[in-house]
Symmetry: C2
DNA sequence: TCCATGTTTCCATGATTATGGAAACATGGG
DNA sequence: CCCATGTTTCCATAATCATGGAAACATGGA
């Protein structure tokens, strides 16, 4: 999955992971760029760079409201990532994988390739 | 979480993600380095580099068996990552997050910080 | 329109990461 | 022992990524 890789790449960076966590906590309304930067101690230019990365990976969205831009976490996209990882974790040996309750994706049980001997 | 970041970084790379997926499919016994490289078309030196990354992140383990080295996926560590992401996804607004069945981690409900207004 | 405030783009710099051939190292069979 | 086979380390190179100041751009209030 292409988007899973993109999401992983986006989150695999300390500042971006912190920003995303902050936005998840901020709830669906999200938070303005200024506040995020203030809360996390990230300079504007740097934050803008990371927000663009997150946005490009589809993990956050933004909306303009008067002079401010609000960024918010994209829960569906995070769900997609979790679903992808769950499948990757459990494929073939569900018992070895403690998750035990993968989200009901249509492809959860389909496409079970066998490893060539 | 430090290890979550390490796991994300390790998986956020096309070749490594492919290797991990391959190892998950290979099952608990895992697969030898040679076969992995052969199956995925990755040169030995490159593969060794990536296996070291995955291993360092705790996502795979290795054991020597005669002249071969078998690498296998570390399911618990993947579970840890999924649990971490699930918490990050659902914290505050479980309803917005379709996962609906987070693994029963002790910290699932604890540590719910509030975002400063 | 002019100004204050919020955000992004530009850009130069430094740091990290990926790649793969060649050589070194390890293991076990003969 | 010596050799074949499997794996890793070494190393140089190239590419990508992170950082943050300064300047540009956007928006809305006076």
């Amino acid at each position: 999955m292409k988007s899973a890789l993109a999401a992983l790449s986006a989150l695999a960076q300390e500042t971006r992971l912190a920003v995303f966590r902050y936005l998840v906590e901020a709830g669906p309304e999200g938070m303005t760029v200024g506040r995020i930067g203030e809360a996390l101690g990230v300079p504007a230019a740097t934050l803008s760079f990371h927000l663009k990365e997150l946005s490009h990976a589809g993990l956050v969205s933004s909306r303009q409201e008067s002079r401010f831009i609000w960024y918010s976490a994209n829960y569906e996209s995070m769900n997609g990532l979790i679903a992808y990882l769950t499948e990757n974790c459990c494929r073939g040996q569900p018992e070895a994988c403690g998750v035990g309750c993968a989200p009901q994706t249509k492809s959860s049980t389909a496409s079970r390739k066998k490893v060539p001997a």
